[in-house]
Each structure stands twice: as structure tokens, then as C-alpha cells.
Amino acid sequence: MKTNIPADFSFSQSNLHTYLRCRYKFYLRYIQGLLWPAQLTSDALVYEEDRNAGIRFHQLLHQYFIGFDQDLLVQMAQNDPDPRVLEWFSSFLLSPFAQLDGELNPEKTLNANIDGKLFTIKMDLLQFVDGLYHIYDWKTSRKIPSRKTLLESVQTKLYPLVLSEALSSNFPIHFHILELNQVDAPITFTFSAPEVAKSRDYFMLLTDEILALEEHEFFRTDKLQICKTCEYRSHCNRGIKAPGISDLELLDMEDYLETGNLNTDLV
């Protein structure tokens, strides 16, 4: 029986990443909508602290690019319950990324309809300067991913594609990643129009495959390592306890970076 993915389903960085890691998890989470609140890591509180500190830091940068007074934001960072937030913010202020010009759009969401399929991305910052678009992504990783890992990630390939489609741009797109725990080595990828077209082919093939699958073809991954960091492990009878936070890689967590649906912002 063919699986009915809702017509309005919007492909995003996190759901595509989920699919690539385990088809069955994609099926449970995005088609069945099954909530299964088991732990992702046994260090749940550390994970939560990391996540909350990251959210507050992203908010500081959002406020910075809206135009809040810098001293006020430094004061906020100094009073943040997690000292890392001040460290990250101070590092950011010393970086060239704090001096950007042109049109700046923090926390920008874009949607694109590509060959009848919807895609959504949410960027930390979108800059338009000298006729070119620059995407910025701030990361506060415990384990710093390699350039190769970042280049191969769904996010790095998907964002330039959706941007070029949504804003009808054929010019090269720059994707800058600032790892706040390693500010002296920012990473920039530049995607020319042919490279974006290549990404387009890749994602069209991938999403065509997803939409064509029969229900039984959403099979479980055979890489049992992936099941360790999956909340559905008890549902699939593939483990009891969650791993420690030190065992997690960026790829384990990318599943959980949800970008929302159709840019609707319902509260």
C-alpha cells in the first residue's frame, strides 16, 4: 500500500536528515505523527542546558541584528545563568561577523515550491549585499564537526537551493558557518549556480523516492548504532538505555533541529 504523505508536507533539513538515517523513523515521526518521549541521551539535563544556552545565544544575535544597543546585550549576556553565553557573545563581537553591512534579515524563514514539492528553511541570518546572498549559521557544538561533515550535511546543500528558488537568484550563494567554540576558523562554502542545480537534482531524486514509497518500504535502518540515539528504540525493541552526551555527534542531533512547517507560526 502506498503511503499517504500529506499534500502539504514540507521537506526540511531535519526531516530529510531523519529519512537518510532511518526510513522507519521518518515514517513514525512525520507520517504517523507518533510521539514517543523516551530519552535521547541519559545526560538529559546537560543536553537541555546546552540547548537552552544555544537558544538564548541565538536570541542575543537576533536582538543584535534587529539593532539593540550592544552594551545592553553584553549586560544581558553577563547576567545569563550559563557563562558560555557571555563567552560566545564576546567571541562573536570580536569576529568580522559582528560588522556586516547590507540588508540583514535575522531568523529568516523561506519556503519554496520546487517541482510541486514544498521545502522550508530557517536561517540564523540572511544577508544581501552587493547583489549577492549570504547565509549565516551560528553553531555552539560540544563536538566540533569537520568541514567535510558540514559540507555533506543536508543543511549545507538544502539552504542554498531553497534560497535560490525562493528568491529567484542565479548568482553564487555563500554559506558561512561560525562555530562559536572555534571562532578563529569560520567556514565558508560558495555554491555556484551549477552546484545549486546539482543539489536540486539530488533533492528532487530523494523526495521523489520518499513520495513513491509503499508503507512497508519504510524499513528500519540496519545500522544499530543509529538506534542508540533514537527515541523510538523501545518501540522497535532495539535497546533500553540512552547513550551519554559524549557519545553524540552533530549528525545525531540534526534530526531534532526542526525548522517548522510552511512558515506558519501558530501559537
Binding site: A44, Q59, A112, S234
Partner: protein
């Protein structure tokens, strides 16, 4: 008309669109959204779709699904409360230091309704011990909710919270002692506000006040907002309080286009501050005002029927058979309520078996009790028909899955010293281990009771006559369960505790939640509720985590914490009959083919709730300060409410209303409220006219 209307709605103008329910207003709102998304050229322009409550967003979400080619526009579908919360959070650095908070440079903690009530409880409990509120007969939860409601009313209506007691007192005409209660209420809300300012806590009233008084006047904020949203679609404006209308009216000139939609005979949430009169100001602000009316004979007749039920003197415009074709009553006299539910179940079954879709049927009552849901659900289940309930005020503790999780939390935290009912342990044990039956579970809890240890006995400590009655598999499961509890004693972050309990034990093969899909979403509810509870303590208040967890468990047990989670799945379940309170049904804004009205003799159809600490009208903007609230006001209000409710229900019914009436109501009383009297009068008049003819 439709073509002309369509043209008007496909242009960049500012329109006020109003009419009765189900006349197609929201459909035009969706059309406008699609137009804005599909046709507009040029730079990206944000669209704000403002709805008065979350459930009303669905038509707009559906409309978005149909748009295939939008590229440059952005849509936010929000309630004003959602917008306020987000903006106060984002712009906190600009306002924290000028709003009286003790720690303005630290992140604030946002309170939910439940956590506000929790903190209000901390303020009020010592007051009660000192004799405050002694003349009021209310449960603690209702007392807290009315106090919080007072603060919210002051914020959304727009008067200083320090005047709550004075306003209530000035309108009071009864015994003088009640005025002392209003003074107590004022003292409690004053202390609550001071506590919030000291601890960076933002309850709903403070969020609204910060938004109105500080953010809205801030140029950076206004610039930001104007960049975000260029077009407005605002639906069901009449269900919002006046501060929302103030904001939108002030914002009006900055929008490139605007469409405000109002339901003429609504304002169902007036007890929560909804103000249709205030919303109607957009009629004069808009460039065009359009009135939609359903002009079919059927719609005309329903309007007339509702109006004639309300007004005895209005001449009848229809015959008895017209009434019978729309309003049905039981064929035979029904004396008792359970009998009535059986009859309703039979009638529904006939309809469903006759091809009516279950989602075209709704059962409504002023209040929906557990026993009604159980009995009706049971009767319908005999014929393979599902019943789903929508009760916004359901407590978390009512869910069996949550009872199981809470019981495990108590068992793993003996230091809380919370008492446990042995029957409850028995049923939870049987629920957690399907291999067990109630008898075996009872044997264990009986032994537990005899040891008075307050903890489940270890397998090795069970008397032989009990362990002999367990097979190897049962023993194995029981051992796993008790070991897990031992290992997780002292896990005080309850979200972490529940997550472990769910993932490592209860959802594992051989335990009660394994492959039980519902258990996942219910556990997630409880975890979310605890996270919000914990987050409300922020970083400012030094508190023992074990005490915090205990407070949460006590709050769930007392029914203070509600299951406010929106369960999208159940809302979308088209294969179940819906049972819901009248106000909740009207709030859904959906029409059905058949409505079954229960408890029609009840005064709950029109009377305002008994609220000795607050008053929705006296604390509204339309109330003249200093005026007295009298019995005449109450009668007038009841009549207005009944009129609104009748029109609303008739407009939302396509085929038939079934008046399910029994001699004795659910509470065993012979009730004859206004609704019964008016409907009986209608039938009598129609019968008399028929006989006269």
C-alpha cells in the same frame, strides 16, 4: 454578489466583513490569503493572520496547503497572546529595566495559566490560614483561578489592577461582608504582582501590560513589526478582548491591506473578556464594510425560529411541521438520564448506520461529565461507533496513563511522604504489567499494606503463597519493575524521570505502554507540563528540586494542572462522534448535520458561572464604574446569552437538533430552565395555531 465580493476581496484595501455564523466569512478570509500569496508581485511582504484561538487557524492552514506557487511572502498565523508572548520575550532587554523588575538583565520566566495559579496559591495559602476569604465557599483551585482571572481582566480591558477590588465592591448590592472578600482579593493580587516583579515572573497580565504600555510605544519595536507584517487578516475579532482591538486599530494605518472578520451574533467568550462591541469599531475604520447573510429559505427559517423561541410575542412565521422538521424530541417520555443516554446512542447509531458521517454529529451539554462520556461511549461502542470528547478544562490526573506515571513517581520518592491508595496501586500495577491481572496485583499491594513500608516489596521478600501464584514471566517483569524503581530513586527532575520511565521500562516489550501509541502522546503531555512548571521557577528562585517535583505531583493530584495540550489528532478524527460543552462547540466554529442537546433544563445554557471573587461584566470596558449589578442585570444577561447560544447553534446545524430531555436531569433533579420553558412555549404556540387553523 459573489463575483463582486470576490473582486473586492482580491484587492489591496481595508475591509470589515461581518455576518452570521456559517455565512462564508472565513472562506473569504482564506480567499484573501490565497490572493495575497499568489498574486502579489515585488518585494516580500509578510502577512499576519490573527485568530482569536488556536483551533480557528485550521481553515487558513488548509488554504495554505492549496497555494502552490508562493515564493516571496511569509505568513504567520497567530493569536494575539502568542504574538505578545513572543515579542515580550524577544524585546525583553529593551523593557525589562523600565518595568519594575528586580532583575531586568536576567531572562524572565513565562507563566502559564496553571503555573500562575500555582504561584497564586503560594501567596494565598498563608492568607487563608490567617482567615482571609473565610466567608467564601469555593474550592482552592476555583479561588486561585478567579484571582488570576481578575488580574488578566484588568490587563486586557485596560484598567489598573489596583482598582479590581474597588470596582467589584462598588457594583455589589448584597451583604456588606462580601466587600471584605473583594478587599482580600485585592490584597492577594497586589502581593502576587509584587512577587512576580521580584522574581522575573511574567504571568499573562504582565505580558499584556508590558506589550501595551512599553513595547507598543517603542519605535524599534514598531519598526520591527512593520517590517514583519504588511497585510492583516483578522478573523473572529469579536472573540478577542478590547486591548487587541486597541492595538490593531492603532496599527491600522501601517497595514497595506487589512480584512477584519466579525461574527454578528457571537462573543461567546465574554466571560474571558471577549468584547464584540469593541470589535465593531473596525466597521468605521475600514474603507468598505460588507455584510454577509445566508439568504436561503432554510437559513431564514432557522433565524426566525431562534428569534421566536427567545421572544414570546413575536408572531410565528412557520408551522408546527416546520419546527418538527428541524427540532426533534424523543418519541416517548424518558424519566431518567441514563435511559436518555441509551436513547441518544440508539438514535445516533441509526443515523451512522444509515450513512451519516460520525463527524457530522455532535453531542452537547452545558457541562460534560465523566459519567456521561463513559455511558454514552459505552453504548455507542456496542455498535462500533467511537466517541471523542473535547473538554478544555480536563485535568491531567483524569488520564489513566498519567495516573500510572504519577504513581511511579511517588513510589520512587518515598521522602515526599505522599500517601497512596492501595486500590490505585493495584490497578496501576495491572496496567503497567499486562501479564498481571487485578488479583495478582492486589495480592502484592495487600502485602505492601501489611508491611506499612510505603514501597513495593522486593520479589524475594514476597511470602511464598504469593510468589507461588506468579509464573516465571510475571516474576521477571515484576523484578524488572522494582529494580527500575530502586535505580531511579532520587531522580528529581521529573521530566527526566518520566522520560526514563517511559523509554526504559513502560514502553519496553512486556510492559503496558509497549506499542500503545496513545501512551506516547499522553506521557509527552505530562513531560511538557512539568517542563513548563520547572521553567517557571527560572534561575532566580532557589528551590529544592525534590520539593519542586513534589509540588508538581501534588498539583496534578489536586487537579490544578490541566491538560491544555491541543491534541490535533483527536480533532481530526473523522470517525468519531464529538461530545463537548456548548461553549467549546461554538468556539470550534464548525457546522454539523445533527446536534444532540443534553441537560436542556439546566441553567448552564445561559447563566453566568457563580464567581464570588470576580465578575466578567463589572470588570469589562462597557461597565459604568460605580453602577450596581442587580438581579435585572443578571436576567438581561441570561437572556442575551441564551439568544446568542441559540442563534449560534442553529446556524451551525445543517439538518436537525435533537432535544434530549428526561424528567430527571443528570443530577437527579427536575430542572426547568429558560431554554426548556421557551422551547415548550414555541411548541404550544405552534400547536395552538395549527388547531386554530
Amino acid at each position: 454578489m459573489d463575483a463582486a465580493l470576490s473582486t473586492i476581496l482580491s484587492s489591496d484595501n481595508k475591509i470589515f466583513l461581518h455576518g452570521e455564523a456559517c455565512s462564508g466569512k472565513t472562506g473569504f478570509g482564506c480567499q484573501r490569503l490565497k490572493y495575497l500569496l499568489s498574486e502579489m508581485k515585488g518585494e516580500p511582504e509578510g502577512i499576519l493572520v490573527l485568530v482569536s484561538q488556536r483551533s480557528l487557524a485550521s481553515p487558513y492552514q488548509e488554504a495554505l496547503k492549496q497555494v502552490k506557487t508562493y515564493r516571496k511572502s511569509e505568513v504567520s498565523i497567530l493569536t494575539m497572546s502568542g504574538l505578545v508572548r513572543r515579542m515580550v520575550n524577544l524585546f525583553w532587554p529593551l523593557i525589562g529595566h523600565i518595568s519594575g523588575f528586580y532583575r531586568p538583565y536576567e531572562p524572565p520566566s513565562f507563566l502559564t495559566l496553571e503555573t500562575s495559579q500555582y504561584y497564586m496559591g503560594r501567596i494565598v495559602d498563608p492568607m487563608i490560614l490567617k482567615g482571609y476569604f473565610s466567608t467564601v465557599s469555593l474550592t482552592r483551585n476555583r479561588l486561585l483561578s478567579q484571582l488570576v482571572d481578575n488580574l488578566n481582566k484588568a490587563a486586557i480591558v485596560g484598567f489598573p489592577y489596583t482598582e479590581i477590588g474597588k470596582r467589584l465592591s462598588e457594583a455589589w448590592v448584597g451583604q456588606e461582608s462580601q466587600k471584605r472578600v473583594y478587599e482580600d482579593a485585592q490584597e492577594a493580587v497586589n502581593a502576587f504582582r509584587a512577587f512576580c516583579l521580584q522574581n522575573n515572573l511574567l504571568d499573562y497580565s504582565l505580558q499584556v501590560e508590558l506589550f501595551k504600555d512599553l513595547l507598543w510605544t517603542n519605535p524599534i519595536f514598531r519598526q520591527y513589526l512593520n517590517r514583519q507584517y504588511v497585510h492583516l487578516i483578522y478573523d473572529n475579532a469579536e472573540e478577542d478582548p478590547p486591548y487587541v482591538h486597541d492595538i490593531i486599530a492603532d496599527w491600522w494605518k501601517d497595514f497595506k491591506s487589512a480584512l477584519v472578520i466579525q461574527d454578528d451574533m457571537a462573543g461567546y467568550h465574554s466571560f474571558l473578556g471577549a468584547d464584540p462591541q469593541s470589535a465593531s469599531r473596525f466597521k468605521t475604520l475600514a474603507e468598505k464594510s460588507i455584510h454577509l447573510q445566508n439568504n436561503t429559505q432554510d437559513a431564514f427559517q432557522k433565524r426566525e425560529m431562534a428569534a421566536t423561541i427567545i421572544d414570546y410575542r413575536k408572531p410565528l412565521q412557520f408551522k408546527l411541521e416546520d419546527i418538527h422538521s428541524f427540532i426533534k424530541q424523543p418519541d416517548q417520555r424518558v424519566r431518567f438520564y441514563p435511559e436518555l443516554l441509551e436513547l441518544v446512542a440508539r438514535d445516533i447509531t441509526e443515523k451512522v448506520h444509515g450513512g451519516v458521517s460520525p463527524n457530522g454529529i455532535v453531542v452537547i451539554s452545558p457541562f460534560v461529565s465523566d459519567s456521561t462520556i463513559f455511558t454514552l461511549g459505552h453504548e455507542l461502542a456496542k455498535n462500533n461507533i467511537n466517541l471523542r470528547s473535547l473538554r478544555p478544562s480536563t485535568s491531567l490526573r483524569d488520564e489513566p496513563v498519567i495516573q500510572t506515571l504519577i504513581l511511579f513517581a511517588i513510589l520512587a520518592h518515598p521522602e515526599w511522604d505522599l500517601s497512596l491508595d492501595t486500590y490505585r496501586i493495584t490497578s496501576v500495577l495491572a496496567h503497567a504489567i499486562p501479564e498481571f491481572d487485578l488479583v495478582r496485583a492486589h495480592l502484592i499491594t495487600k502485602h505492601m499494606q501489611s508491611t506499612q513500608s510505603g514501597k513495593l516489596p522486593h520479589l524475594a521478600d514476597l511470602p511464598q503463597q504469593i510468589s507461588d501464584r506468579l509464573n516465571e514471566e510475571q516474576k521477571d517483569r515484576y523484578l524488572t519493575l522494582t529494580n527500575w524503581i530502586e535505580e531511579n530513586k532520587g531522580v528529581n527532575f521529573l521530566d527526566d524521570f518520566f522520560s526514563r520511565l517511559f523509554g526504559e521500562l513502560l514502553s519496553q516489550p512486556g510492559f503496558g505502554f509497549h506499542l500503545n501509541l496513545e501512551s506516547g502522546s499522553t506521557t509527552a503531555k505530562l513531560i511538557t507540563s512539568y517542563k513548563k512548571f520547572r521553567a517557571s521557577f527560572g534561575y532566580q528562585i532557589e528551590i529544592d528540586q525534590s520539593e519542586l517535583a513534589k509540588e508538581f505531583v501534588k498539583s496534578v493530584e489536586s487537579g490544578l494542572l490541566a491538560a491544555t495540550f491541543v491534541d490535533d489528532k483527536s480533532e481530526d478524527d473523522v470517525n468519531a462522534i464529538l461530545i463537548t460543552p456548548v461553549m467549546s462547540f461554538l468556539g470550534l466554529n464548525q457546522a454539523v448535520d445533527y446536534q444532540y442537546w443534553l441537560n436542556i433544563g439546566s441553567s448552564g445554557w445561559y447563566e453566568r458561572l457563580e464567581q464570588p471573587l470576580t465578575h466578567p461584566i463589572v470588570l469589562s470596558r462597557r461597565w459604568q464604574v460605580g453602577e450596581k449589578w442587580t438581579a435585572e442585570h443578571d436576567q438581561k444577561l441570561s437572556r442575551e446569552n441564551l439568544e446568542k447560544t441559540l442563534h449560534g447553534l442553529f446556524n451551525r446545524c445543517r439538518k436537525e437538533v435533537f432535544l434530549a430531555n428526561s424528567d430527571f436531569s443528570e443530577s437527579g433533579m427536575e430542572e426547568k430552565g429558560l431554554l426548556t420553558l421557551h422551547i415548550q412555549a414555541l411548541f404550544r404556540r405552534a400547536l395552538k395555531e395549527m388547531q386554530d387553523d
